[in-house]
């Protein structure tokens, strides 16, 4: 009996000890987890980006969640597009530490990184289990987010120009027969810029979709002071970029001599000028926002734009072209100017050179920020595979796909309203993953160069100068800008932006 009692007490005692130990261990685990979750209690980080909805919306969407999980606070400051660069630059240059995080256009990266304004992120990314860095497509993680071999930013948005066409027009058997009779080849999504001209001419100025109104051949952003120069470089890239050669789109990477007035660019500008007569009337004054509306209203057969026309055409309730839009990589050329040998090179197959116009939006941290860890944690949270997928498939975020997983999971895209998401995504993927893809200009003073060529392109489009005159004048201005900013430094920066060794 006594033995039995002793045994049961022993079991009870052991059970109590085990229970207490379990409570203590689990309790301590819980409290350490809570501590870990609230590791930014009392920390306020300031995020600066563009006025909502576009680009600022993802911060608005995810900040409350991050605040709840970490105890930190996110203060969002926004400004219109034109004020972003001056405000960011002056905050950095004066050491004002106005913003911990900036979400900014990729073209600014070289300016900010070369001035050591941004915190290097390599060690953070290496230790981060959430960001899944290798899921980001190589061109963004290796080129767009880095400067001189160091990662300074986290990709938030994938941006590249792509080509749009109306399936109902180009796939119509009656139009196909008429087109072949007139031009001598099959009507199909254009492979070259010369074909774009023919197809635009064919569909210009008559009611080919039966809505009782005239439609036009093409719509492209040409407006001065907006995105016209990106459209131009999208057209000139294939005329000037030979596969495997160092970039021939902007400067000679050996001498820093501008290449924008070489025969390839002149040819592209002459092509572009000719599009005015086969485009939507008033196209010369249209910015990207306007061409998206025009295309969604069914006024043009073809268009060049970032991923946005695809989104608006299929998801905007006012769109008249839902499900009727086809997508492709930018057309190419059968001849390309070799800036090294100074001669045209003929291609038996079309030479494509898709252009990462603008390059997308990046998130980076002020090198002088007092809250680098919290700032990185918020950026990593915002750019994680799960949250970034929500961003790229939500209206008005302004973010386009840039991760492998964004292209693999189609459910979100169907939910977004896309009729043919697989076509849309494969056109973007074909662009980004193309071996001859051309990154945008990424050196200090990028927008000074853009402003100079923008005015000259506009003069040529208005007929005030020939293509050659305009580009010669732009090249002179580019040389003057390079001299002003320091030729050697600019050459070093340009080579660094292309991943070439310093001379």
């Amino acid at each position: 009996m006594f033995k039995k009692l002793k045994k049961s007490r022993l079991i009870k005692e052991v059970a109590i000890v085990v229970l207490c130990t379990a409570v203590i261990v689990l309790g301590s685990l819980g409290s350490s987890q809570a501590l870990a979750q609230k590791r930014f209690e009392g920390v306020e980080i300031t995020v600066f980006t563009q006025t909502p909805p576009f680009i600022a919306k993802p911060v608005q969407m995810f900040r409350a969640d991050w605040e709840k999980k970490t105890g930190g606070k996110v203060r969002l400051i926004t400004a219109p597009w034109a004020e972003l660069y001056p405000k960011m630059f002056s905050s950095f240059a004066l050491g004002a530490k106005n913003y911990d995080i900036i979400i900014f256009p990729a073209a600014y990266l070289a300016d900010f990184a070369s001035n050591k304004f941004l915190a290097p992120l390599d060690t953070f990314i290496a230790a981060d289990t959430r960001i899944d860095w290798l899921d980001i497509l190589p061109v963004y993680r290796e080129k767009i987010s880095t400067y001189a071999g160091t990662i300074y930013a986290i990709t938030m948005d994938g941006d590249s120009h792509m080509f749009y066409y109306r399936r109902d027009a180009l796939e119509n058997p009656e139009y196909q027969a008429k087109f072949k009779a007139k031009y001598g080849y099959d009507l199909a999504p254009p492979e070259t810029w010369a074909q774009v001209r023919d197809i635009a001419e064919f569909f210009n100025g008559w009611d080919w979709d039966g809505d009782g109104r005239k439609e036009y051949g093409v719509v492209e952003a040409m407006r001065k002071g907006d995105q016209g120069y990106w459209t131009f470089f999208s057209r000139s890239a294939a005329y000037t970029s030979i596969p495997g050669q160092a970039q021939g789109l902007f400067f000679d990477p050996e001498t820093m001599k501008p290449l924008i007035n070489d025969p390839g660019h002149v040819q592209a500008l002459e092509d572009w000028i000719k599009m005015i007569e086969v485009g939507v009337p008033g196209m010369i004054n249209m910015d990207s926002g306007e061409i998206r509306g025009v295309y969604a209203a069914g006024e043009a057969a073809m268009a060049i734009d970032w991923g946005d026309i695809g989104v608006i055409a299929d998801t905007d309730p006012g769109s008249t072209v839902k499900g009727k839009v086809g997508y492709s990589i930018l057309p190419g050329t059968t001849k390309t100017w070799d800036y090294v040998k100074k001669t045209w090179v003929d291609f038996s197959e079309v030479n494509h050179a898709p252009y990462l116009a603008f390059g997308g939006w990046l998130g980076a941290i002020d090198a002088k920020s007092n809250n680098v860890e919290a700032a990185y944690d918020f950026l990593s949270y915002l750019g994680s595979p799960e949250n970034s997928y929500i961003c790229v498939t939500t209206p008005e975020t302004g973010f386009n796909p840039y991760r492998k997983t964004h292209f693999e999971k189609l459910a979100g895209w169907y939910g977004y309203g896309f009729v043919h998401p697989e076509d849309y995504l494969s056109a973007i993927q074909a662009t980004i993953a193309h071996p001859n893809v051309q990154p945008d200009i990424r050196i200090p003073g990028a927008f000074r160069y853009f402003e100079a060529i923008d005015a000259q392109l506009s003069m040529a489009l208005a007929g005030a100068k020939t293509a050659k005159q305009a580009l010669d004048d732009a090249a002179k201005e580019w040389e003057a800008i390079t001299e002003d900013l320091g030729k050697e430094k600019q050459l070093k920066n340009y080579r660094a932006s292309l991943g070439l060794p310093t001379k």
């Binding site: 034109a82 004020e83 660069y85 001056p86 630059f89 002056s90 240059a93 004066l94 300016d111 070369s114 001035n115 407006r223 001065k224 002071g225 907006d226 939507v280 009337p281 008033g282 010369i284 004054n285 910015d287 025009v294 209203a297 006024e299 200090p444 003073g445 927008f447 000074r448 853009f450 402003e451 100079a452 005015a455 506009s458 003069m459 489009l461 208005a462 007929g463 005030a464 100068k465 002003d484 900013l485 320091g486 430094k489």
Partner: protein, 298 residues
């Protein structure tokens, strides 16, 4: 202590009370003004941090050799001269009509003032839509009237006049406002006396009303001229300065170079050249009007 406060009267007290306002004025107006004047003789470098070096007359020499500057200057002056002249003539005509006690003049007075109350950006967007060649109402109506559609914002020879048209639409009410106040201040007895003496219609206007409206006219024209010389917002929305640079104004030129290209020193130089232009035109205008007033008094 008491003595200090007692001595704190009269001019001393006045100066002390003025001091905060003077400090604010110095900090917010005079300092930025002098800083940007200094910038126009400097070179701003951002490589390796913000640095400003003295560059002598480099920016000014660049400006005087820049064809885009002369284009922007001539566009701006042309807009100012044509727009203000038409606004004044239209404003004066409408004021005289309203003053005659036309039926519903109170309603029209309110209606005429509406455009002036709109933000220039909103006016820009509204007119950009009106001028749209495929979806705008103007080019839709013109062919119905047997007239050809017009490329309002894309034809180099027309674009500046389209900008002027929008300015006239928005700012004629300002002329009406000032001139109406001037007209109301003319003593009715004076007009009655002139009528008793046999003056009527054109003579009454030419010899009594117009001369007495000159001070209000000078103020209205001067204020509008200064404002139009700084025009930027409407042009920015309507055309962005295009096609080419056919509608680029001085302020838009300065903005493009200073804040888009971030060439701050050159942007400051352009801003100061605009300031000098506004100052010169204002002085010339005041001298001419003063001289003509002296002649009419003689």
């Amino acid at each position: 202590m008491r003595n200090i406060w007692r001595s704190f009267t009269g001019k001393k007290a006045g100066r002390a009370f003025l001091l905060p306002a003077v400090i604010i004025l110095l900090v917010l107006t005079i300092f930025p003004f002098l800083f940007s004047l200094f910038l126009s003789f400097g070179k701003v470098s951002f490589l390796g941090g913000l640095k400003i070096h003295f560059a002598g007359l480099k920016n000014w020499l660049r400006l005087f050799g820049d064809e885009r500057f002369y284009n922007a200057l001539s566009n701006t002056v042309l807009i100012a001269v044509i727009a203000v002249a038409i606004e004044y003539v239209l404003g004066l005509g409408l004021v005289l009509l309203l003053n005659r006690g036309v039926k519903g003049s109170t309603f029209f007075r309110v209606l005429f003032f509406l455009p002036m109350m709109l933000a220039p950006i909103a006016v820009g967007y509204m007119w950009r839509m009106m001028f749209n060649p495929t979806r705008g109402p103007i080019d839709h109506v013109l062919p119905l009237l047997g007239l050809p559609a017009v490329a309002w914002l894309t034809e180099p020879k027309i674009v500046l006049y389209s900008v002027i048209l929008t300015d006239i639409w928005q700012w004629t009410p300002f002329m009406i406002l000032i001139l109406f106040a001037g007209l109301q201040s003319i003593p009715p007895a004076l007009l009655e006396a002139a009528k008793v003496d046999g003056a009527s219609g054109w003579r009454l206007f030419r010899e009594i009303i117009f001369p007495l409206l000159i001070p209000a006219s000078v103020a209205a024209i001067l204020l509008r001229t200064i404002e139009v010389l700084k025009i930027v917002d409407k042009i920015y929305i309507l055309t962005g300065g295009g096609p080419g640079i056919y509608s680029e104004s001085m302020t838009l030129f300065g903005y493009s170079l200073g804040l888009r290209a971030f060439d701050l020193a050159y942007g400051a130089t352009i801003a100061f050249s605009l300031f000098a232009t506004v100052l010169a035109i204002s002085i010339i205008f005041l001298l001419i009007t003063r001289r003509s007033q002296e002649i009419s008094l003689e």
